[in-house]
Amino acid sequence: MSSTRQARRPAVAGAARGGFSRWLWPSFAAPATAYLLVFFLFPFYVVLGVTFGTIDPILQTPIPQWNPAQWDTGVLSFTLSNISHSDGIYFGAFFRTLAYVGLATLLCLLVGYPFAYFVARHAGRFKGVFLALFFAPFWVSYMLRLTAWIGLLQDDGWINRALHGIGLTGGPIGFLDGHVGTLLAGLVYGYVPYMILPLLAALDRVPHEHVEAARDLGASPARTFVRVTLPASRQAILAGVIICGLPMFGDYFTQQLVANVNGTRMLGNFIVDQLRIPIFLARGAALILVLLALLVVPIAYYLWSTARVSRERLS
């Protein structure tokens, strides 16, 4: 394409390669690139500097160490040993976080897949309505959505009344007294739209002819699903698991609002709490490093695989 363009319009194509135009587009990208360098990449170096820095003996605050040759790994090894030993301060939170995020992500998939399948395949003329209602939670404040559940789940809230009214329970269930189940429900409620987003896109693209062909050739509905629909949405399941699971690792407010007891505290809670105390800043920074190290592989894999998929789709 570009070669025919150049042949037909040599003067302009030549000009486009000239000194002015060569720098035109990079200069468009320059301000945002600079912004990302200063306010996205450089802060990671600050996290490293604080983690491996020293403590001011008088002010009791961390002094960042910018020279990697003089990094002090004391705080990081303290953090790691408190994660790996069963009596360490982060041990419980670390494995709870992994378990809660894993379970909540799985539940999101179990809730989200049938819904995405329904909207893509069976909603018919109501598809637009369902799509609009699906997108609504993205711009409803997360805090308002959780507040809604706090009202419903109170001892005198509508859910306890309904359960009591139909005779299922004798007295109110203390949903908000710090139960793992409530926390998981809150996480699923908060993050399930992120799971559905890529699933919807993928299931919408599965050609109807493929499904019909499988059915015509005698495959049962279940077999058609397993052999045609599921493989076509495998990439989207992976994308959904990543973009739904990643932000949950940094969640602390859901725990604070619906299950605020020590036994459900996640890594995010420890990070935020340590940042409130100047002398523990380095510990908070070290936990951020741990989180980043844990998540950098899924993040990079996701970016790599979406790039690959979009390349394949074009060739």
Partner: protein, 292 residues
């Protein structure tokens, strides 16, 4: 039993189970929000026990209503200010970024794009904490507070216009711009007179999305706030929900919900109308979708 089997094996039957899933999901996500909106009109302090409708928490309570509580008014002002400033900064920055990344083909643009996508997917807490340390340990001139919150929100929002505008650039193709160049326009003229007008719906949509999205942000603004004067609506609802739930928090949440909804619907209408007019692009699929 045999009737059940017949029903199950009929491929053209209405899939009742899936309809139940669809309707049930929407009810599950939307009804609690509607209940929260309803309780902003409760006549007592409870957010769980309905005692009759009133405008107490909106206008009539002399101290704690939306209209009369200075804390709430300040939080609304802070939220609107931060969202407006973030939109004003992030949209031009992001649109220029999208154009630059789209046309600047080199090894460098690939790495820059990777960093941009990385910022897009990094958990917000990691962004918030690293910027918190940046402002208290390095850029102490900026420090915590409104400026810090604003810079944090711009980092968070920057990728949205890039993703939206670039998708529109792909679907538009290069024909319009090349036609302008063929007819003798300079590259900057073609950009200003042809490409930017065609991108307008995408730019407008990303502005609305950024505004609505940053209006609800909690993690960044909370971490980068210095004192009560930086409190936003989301921070107000959070602390109310933790300490003393009050229908006033529901009311302010409802107000933000209405603001966001109006914006998003407006953006959708503008986008749909203009995209229809230009025919949705000529050979959009021929371009790669995500050049990482």
């Amino acid at each position: 039993m045999s009737r059940l089997r017949t029903a199950l094996s009929n491929p053209w039957a209405r899939p009742r189970f899936l309809w139940a899933v669809g309707v049930g999901y929407v009810a599950w996500t939307m009804i609690p929000v509607l209940v929260a909106v309803l309780f902003s009109f409760n006549s007592t302090r409870s957010i769980s026990n309905w005692a009759g409708a009133s405008l107490r928490w909106w206008i009539s309570d002399p101290n704690e209503s939306l209209l009369n509580d200075p804390t709430i008014r300040q939080a609304i002002a802070q939220s609107l200010k931060l969202s407006a400033l973030t939109t004003v900064i992030a949209v031009p920055l992001g649109v220029a970024f999208a154009l630059g990344l789209d046309r600047w083909r080199s090894r460098g643009s690939g790495s820059v794009n990777f960093v941009m996508m990385f910022s897009f997917i990094t958990p917000e807490l990691i962004l918030a904490v690293s910027m918190f340390l940046l402002f208290i340990k390095v850029f102490r001139v900026i420090g915590l507070g409104t400026t810090g919150q604003l810079l944090g929100l711009v980092t968070l929002a920057l990728a949205y216009p890039v993703v939206i505008v670039r998708a529109r650039l792909y679907s538009l193709g290069k024909e319009y711009e090349e036609a302008a160049l063929d007819l003798g326009a300079s590259p900057t003229q073609a950009l200003r007179r042809v490409t930017l007008p065609l991108l307008f719906p995408a730019i407008f949509a990303s502005a609305a999305i950024i505004f609505a999205f940053t209006l609800d942000d909690f993690v960044i603004v909370n971490q980068l706030a210095e004192d009560a004067s930086n409190q936003t609506v989301s921070m107000f609802i959070y602390s109310a929900a933790r300490q003393a739930p009050s229908p006033a928090a529901n009311a302010v949440g409802t107000l933000m919900l209405v603001t966001s909804t109006v914006l998003i619907v407006a953006a959708y209408l503008v986008y749909r109308r203009s995209v229809r007019r230009t025919g949705g692009g000529i050979r959009g699929a021929a371009r790669e979708a995500l050049p990482v």
